[in-house]
Symmetry: C2
Subunit: 357 residues, 2 copies
C-alpha cells in the first residue's frame, strides 16, 4: 500500500537534506577562503518549473560564481545538488529503459504511462586531485492510474525507491575508502528492530556492477551502494524476507538513514585532502579520470539515458553531473607503470573485471 | 557484383591518402615552428593487429609528442588519422545497430555475421579557437559468406561504401563555410560522364540530419556530406537512378574524389585561422563547444556505438575522436546574447531544429 502522503514526505525530506548539504559545503568554502567573507563562494540556487508537470531546485557550484575567481582557489571545482519533483507521461522508449529493472510495471508496450518521480541528485567534483569526486542519488518513483496534477495525488499503481552513493578517487587512500564504505555500511545496517545484515553487501555489490565501464574494463570508482526497485514486493537481491524493511514507512526510514549518512561519509575525506599540495601531472591525471567519468555518464548511466529520452527534460540539470573539464589522450602513458600511484588506482578499478574473467 | 580486388583497392587508396594527409599537417606544423627543425612536431604512428582479425594504423597528433611542448604552441591540439582493416563476426547487438541503415542485410536475428570493414577516419582539433574542427570518414563494408582469413577473399554477400566529412567551427566565418561546402560539392558532382547533380544536396541534407544533437536542439557543426549504404542497389536518398554512379568501380571513383577533396577543403581554412589572436574567453567558448562534440560522439555517433559493441574493438582508436580537453558549465552565459559572436553560432546550429518545428 502506498501512503498517500509519501510524495510529500519525500519532498520535505529531500528539500531539507539539500539545504543541509549546501550549508555544509558553503561553510567549508568560506573557512577555506576567509578573505572572501564579503563575497563568499556560494551555490547558485535555481528554481525551475517543468512545463509538462512538476518543478525542481538546481543548486550548482562553479568557481565562476565568485567575482574574483582568478585570484582564489575554491575547494570545489564544480558541484550540483539538485532536487526534481516531476510528473507526466512516460513515452515507450523511456518505459523500455525503465523496465530493464522494473519488470513488474504493468505495460502493454505501446501506451504512455503516468508517473511521478521525486529525488535528490548530487555530484561534487573538488578541485584538488587528491580529493575524490562523490555522487549520490535517492529517488521515489510512482506509476499512477491517472496523470498527476500539481497538488493532487492520483491512485498509485506501483511505487519504489532507488538510489545510492559512490566515490571516485583519482588516488587511492585506503583510510578514505574504509571511512566511506564504513559509514554507508552503518547507515544500511540500521539498529535494533531495524537491523539488516543482507542489505549492505547486496547493494555494495550492485554498485560495483552498475558503475562499470565495459569498454575500459574498469569500474568508475571504488563503489559504495546502489539499489533500485525497493518496495514492499519481493526483491531479487534481498532473498531473506525477514532481513529487510517490509513496510513503505520502514523503507523510507532506510532511505533517510542513507541520505543522512552523506555528509558524515564524505566531508571528513574532503577536509583531509582539499589542501594537499599537487603537481601539474597530478592535475593532468585527475582530468584524464574525469574523462572516464564523462564516458560512463554519457554512455551507460541509466539516469542520464532516461533523462535524455524524457520529453522536455531539463538537460542542464541532467548533465550537471559532468565535470568542469575533462581530458582525453590517445594511449596515455599515465597509469602504465603499475608501481606508480596512478597505476595502483587502475589495478583496483580493474579488479571487478579480473574477478569476472 | 563485388570486384574481388576491391578490398585491396580500398586499402591501397586509404593508405596513400593517410600518408598524404599526415605529410601535409606535419609540413604545416614545421612551417609554423621552424625553430623545431631538429625535433619537429610529428604524428605518432601506431600499427596494430586486432587479435580477432585484421589490422590498422593509428596516426595521432598531440602537443605532448614534442619534447619541448611547454614552450611552443602547435597548430593542432589533438588529431587522429586512422586506418582500420578488420574482419570477424558481428554479434547480434552490432547487427541490430547496423540494420537501422542496412535493412537489406540477410539476417535471422540470432546468428553472428561474417564481415570486413576497411576505412579511414580522421578528426582534427586545432588549438586556435578560430580554426574549426574537421571530421572525415570513408569506409568500405562487406558481409561475406564465410569468415575472412587474413590474405583470403571470401564470397561477398553484400557490400557498400559510406562516409562523409563535416566541419565544426566555434566561430562563424562565412567564407570558410562557402569554401568547405563548395569543395565538397565539386567533389560529389564529378564531371563529364560522371557528373551527378542529386548527390551533393542529398548527402548534405543527410549530414545535417545525422550530426544533430537532439537534447541540445542543435547540429554539431555546419555540416558537409554524410552517406551510407552506397552500392549498386537502389538508394532511398538517390531516387534518380540515372544520376548516380551505378557500378562498384564508379562508386569507388566517387569515394576517391571525396577523399582527395579533404586537404583542399580544409587546409586553406586552417591556414587562414591558425594564427588569429584569441582571448581566454574565446578559448573557454572553444572548450564548451568541444563538450558538445563529446556529447554527440559518445551518445549518438553510430560509428562509436558500433565500435563499443564490437568484441575486442580497439577503444583507443574509436575514442581518438575526442578532443584533448572539453568543458561543461551549468547554464553557461556564453552564447546567451544573440548579438555576440557566440550567440550567432548558436543561431546557425539551431536552424535545423527551427526548420523542423
Amino acid at each position: 500500500m502506498a501512503d498517500p502522503n509519501m510524495r510529500q514526505n519525500v519532498e520535505d525530506y529531500i528539500l531539507d537534506l539539500q539545504d543541509r548539504i549546501i550549508a555544509e559545503f558553503e561553510a567549508i568554502e568560506l573557512a577555506h577562503n576567509p578573505s572572501l567573507a564579503n563575497d563568499p563562494p556560494r551555490f547558485k540556487r535555481d528554481e525551475w518549473i517543468r512545463p509538462a508537470g512538476g518543478r525542481g531546485i538546481s543548486c550548482t557550484f562553479s568557481s565562476r560564481n565568485i567575482s574574483s575567481s582568478s585570484d582564489v582557489e575554491t575547494v570545489l571545482e564544480k558541484a550540483g545538488v539538485n532536487i526534481s519533483l516531476v510528473h507526466g507521461k512516460l513515452p515507450p522508449p523511456a518505459i523500455q529503459q525503465m523496465r530493464a529493472d522494473h519488470s513488474s510495471i504493468p505495460y502493454d508496450g505501446v501506451s504512455s504511462l503516468p508517473f511521478f518521480a521525486g529525488g535528490l541528485s548530487l555530484v561534487v567534483h573538488p578541485r584538488n586531485p587528491h580529493a575524490p569526486t562523490v555522487h549520490l542519488n535517492y529517488r521515489y518513483f510512482e506509476i499512477t492510474k491517472e496523470e498527476s496534477k500539481d497538488g493532487q495525488q492520483p491512485e498509485v499503481v506501483a511505487w519504489w525507491f532507488g538510489g545510492g552513493s559512490d566515490l571516485t578517487p583519482n588516488y587511492l587512500y585506503p583510510e578514505d575508502a574504509t571511512h566511506f564504505h564504513g559509514t554507508l555500511k552503518e547507515a544500511c545496517s540500521g539498529s535494533g528492530d531495524d537491523a539488516y545484515k543482507q542489505i549492505y553487501p547486496a547493494f555494495k555489490r550492485w554498485c560495483d556492477e552498475y558503475f562499470y565501464i565495459p569498454h575500459r574494463r574498469e569500474t568508475r570508482g571504488i563503489g559504495g551502494i546502489f539499489f533500485d526497485d525497493l518496495s514492499t514486493e519481493p526483491h531479487p537481491r534481498l532473498p531473506d524476507a525477514s532481513d529487510r524493511p517490509t513496510t513503505q514507512s520502514a523503507i523510507f526510514d532506510f532511505i533517510k538513514a542513507c541520505g543522512d549518512s552523506f555528509l558524515p561519509s564524505y566531508v571528513p575525506i574532503l577536509r583531509r585532502r582539499m589542501d594537499a599540495p599537487y603537481s601539474e601531472e597530478e592535475r593532468r591525471w585527475q582530468l584524464l579520470r574525469r574523462g572516464r567519468y564523462v564516458e560512463f555518464n554519457l554512455i551507460y548511466d541509466r539516469g542520464t539515458k532516461f533523462g535524455l529520452q524524457t520529453p522536455s527534460a531539463r538537460i542542464e540539470s541532467i548533465l550537471m553531473s559532468l565535470p568542469e573539464t575533462a581530458r582525453w589522450e590517445y594511449m596515455t602513458d599515465m597509469g602504465e607503470d603499475g608501481a606508480s600511484r596512478e597505476g595502483k588506482l587502475l589495478k583496483v578499478l580493474g579488479r571487478l573485471n579480473e574477478a569476472k574473467s
